[in-house]
């Protein structure tokens, strides 16, 4: 399936859920998530299990809503926010990252008629996505350095102060490294002629794209009918 189809589907469903939140939207989200997970053979084990306090917080919220006679609304709001989050994750799990920027350039092509630099934007998204794994690696290393340094004896206020300073160091170090890397990427862009242009990748739409779009339109119709 073309990556652009997935991005369009993601946008359509998200907007539908926001415009018409209700049991229909919850049902639509569930159907799309389950169907795409089945199609891409994503097992349920990939979903990270939140810690206990998270469940406790949810339970307290549910109890208070129940007392206020609004449990239904509470469940709806929760289901929709987690469903939308799940859609984004599903896109990430099922799409090779390198297919996304060219797809964005194609989707944004109408905007370029207005004189907006859509190609530059798509190329910038490409750079962001390409450097994301490097960024995550850096966060891992900075956090590891801090773990190795942390004296095991710290407790209470000292530990809290230390944690605060560690977060600040993490942020500033990341920022400093990113600014340096940005300069290097800038030089590399200059070395390619200074014009950020993505290679044009031909769009091939097939039966899966048609099926996905049809299904999404049906599902969104369902969401609109069921308030």
């Amino acid at each position: 399936m073309w990556a652009g189809t997935k991005v369009v589907v993601l946008l359509v469903i998200t907007v539908t859920c926001l415009a018409l939140p209700g049991w229909g939207a919850v049902a639509a989200l569930t159907v799309v998530l389950v169907a795409s997970a089945a199609a891409a053979r994503i097992p349920p084990s990939v979903v990270p299990v939140p810690p206990l306090w998270f469940w406790l917080l949810l339970a307290v919220g549910a109890a208070v809503s129940l007392l206020g006679a609004g449990l239904g609304l509470y469940v709806q709001a929760l289901a929709i926010s987690f469903g939308v989050l799940g859609l984004g994750l599903m896109l990430g799990w099922t799409t090779p990252v390198d297919e996304i920027p060219p797809a964005l350039a194609v989707i944004g092509r109408p905007l370029s008629r207005l004189g907006l630099p859509v190609d530059t934007w798509a190329a910038a998204v490409g750079i962001s996505l390409r450097t994301l794994p490097l960024l995550l690696d850096e966060i891992r290393i900075i956090a590891a350095v801090q773990r190795v340094r942390r004296p095991p004896s710290d407790r209470g206020i000292r530990a809290a102060r230390r944690a605060l300073r560690d977060w600040a160091d993490l942020g500033v170090t990341l920022l400093a490294v990113s600014v340096r890397r940005a300069a290097e990427i800038g030089t590399a862009t200059a070395a390619r002629g200074g014009r950020p242009v993505l290679a044009r990748v031909p769009v091939r739409l097939g039966a899966p794209d048609a099926a996905a779009l049809t299904a999404v339109i049906l599902v969104c119709g369902l969401a609109a009918l069921l308030p």
């Binding site: 926001l18 415009a19 084990s45 990939v46 306090w53 809503s65 129940l66 007392l67 206020g68 609004g70 509470y74 709806q76 709001a77 989050l85 984004g88 990430g92 390198d98 630099p117 530059t120 934007w121 910038a124 998204v125 490409g126 750079i127 962001s128 390409r130 450097t131 994301l132 490097l134 960024l135 850096e138 290393i141 350095v145 190795v148 340094r149 004296p151 095991p152 160091d169 993490l170 942020g171 500033v172 170090t173 920022l175 400093a176 490294v177 940005a182 300069a183 800038g186 030089t187 590399a188 862009t189 200059a190 070395a191 390619r192 002629g193 200074g194 014009r195 950020p196 290679a199 308030p227």
Partner: protein, 681 residues
Amino acid sequence: MSAPRTPFVAWRVAPAELSSAEFGAAGLLGGLAAATVAVGKVLPHVGVLELLATIPFAVLAVQHRARAVVTGAIAGATVALLLVGLGGLLTVCGCALIGGAVGWVKARRRGGWTVLGCALVLGPLVGIAADAVLVLFAPLRELALGSVTHLAAGVTVALHGIPVLSPAAEYLRGVIDLLVGTWWVWVPVAATIAAVGGMLVTWRLLIAAVARLAPDRADGIGGRTREAEWPPPAPLPVSLNAIEVHYPSASAPALAIERLDISPGSFVVVTGANGSGKSTLLHALAGAPVTRGRVERPGPIGLGRVGGTALVLQRPETQVLGMTVTEDLAWGLPDGHPLDVPAALAEVGLSGLEHRSTSALSGGQLQRLAIAAAIVRRPALLLSDESTAMVDSAGRDGIIGLLAGLPRRHGITVVHVTHFEAEARQADRHIVLAAGRVVRDAPPAAPDRPTRPVERGPAPQPDSPAVLEARDLSYTYAPGTPWAHRALRNVSMEVAAGEGVRVEGGNGSGKSTLAWLLAGLLVPSSGTCTLDGRPVDQQVGAVSIAFQHSRLQVQRPTVDAEIASAAARGFASEAERVEFAQRALALVDLDPALARRPVDALSGGQLKRVALAGILVRRPRALILDEPFAGLDPASRDALVETLLRIREAQAMAIVLITHDVVGADRLCPRVISLRQGILR
């Protein structure tokens, strides 16, 4: 026929497009903001983090034009949308607005009052926009307001259960009902409060962050204006006449050359120690401005253009711009330029990797790809700025062979800058720089001295007991998912006190995973890893680890603060801290006067030693070094080996050296073990 325009037309035209520096900053800082927001959304207990996403945009706005902030916001918002959905997109947009405005104020050298003024204008505007959205999306509004009402009702019922609190409950209920009833007033009010708070916090943090960021070290290559498309580039022959380059902070010129000509069709190698001005020379050839003198060439330099000048840079991972090999080759090529991907890859020895993701390539492969991307532009001049520094010795030989063949095969003139003298052997011309001046300019000398015989360190004492021990160590990433990856299987090794062991292996051999396990930073999937008999993951910090990228290891603003932090020591006075840092610096043969220096003012070699000083002053029983020699010139590398040898003897420390570079490590680590795909060979 139209008259050819002069190359100077471009700078008079308002530059509508982003400069390459702005583009790089927008992509990188936008991505950083998106990652920050994503972490905040996925881990709700650190949700406050999301607000820090304003800082990258503020820095972007301080250093670049508004259009760079817009591009950064679009990049960040899109990435956030892909990572965590529409909520992420909206948060990034809000952060871009706040950060951009604060950075804009800072760039104009205004103060906190201007920030407050901006917040009082922006807040209500955003609030009114939010009102409009809520009016349009009525069901969403009802869901949100309904949830709040019901929660409030629930709290009231709960409070009624406690007789004392029942008036308070009624009052609370009344307040919330009032708020919900007049939501269209409170949304802009809340937005204004958020804008004021967010902008003032961002302002404070930005001032702190800018103080710690290195001053803009733009190398001057590829400015904001692009050369006109006409006339065609003609960078050669180039001649430097009485040029001098000064950097603001230094008194002596970084480069002072009477006369230097580069004529077409040769392979020129420039060598010199760190700080000899060789990179400055290369930047001057690439079009960076010089302080004094003239750089003469027949036509425009044509950076990255067909027939112009191509650049291959030092760090492999930041000069590859595409996500797949093919995409990278085509990145930035003019429409319609012929591109034979298989042939281009075959030439640099990357056949069959067309569709490989660039993040899966090794450093040497990335450099080959960069050379291929340069060759497909058929440049007249190829400039290589220490492109072999981060590559292992086998990869180095391959890259030099490739560069040396370009003049004959394609008529491309190559100027290669390096700190390895041996790379000049195949050159037509060998230029040596020292302290910014040319001290030699001739065909390369025949290698007069034979390669140094390998000196063996003291033989390991087989009877000394093992300090650091791994038994049947295995590790699997993302177990139980489709991406489960077994990085290490059944590895057993031991290191005795005062012994050095080198772990070698290529990309994906699992050597980094082994380093993390030995330091206790990962918990083994199976097997054990112990220091003096106790599992290392229960005593994190007992085994020290020095990472390859020192800029990530050195996290405090000044050298003395960094060493104190690395040693996990607090001090009563600053004088005591400086004295402690000076002792630590002496340990790694650094000038104690560096103790008060900001870390950003250090060279790469000094930074590595400062990182080591903080580690060694704790007298660890075992030390893991991850690629400690990458990017060092041979003299600095030998000096670092000497230092480590002395400390290893003095402290009876066990050393594990993770490297793919064989040169220079034999004396420090006579024993070598090899990893191949997670298995010990």
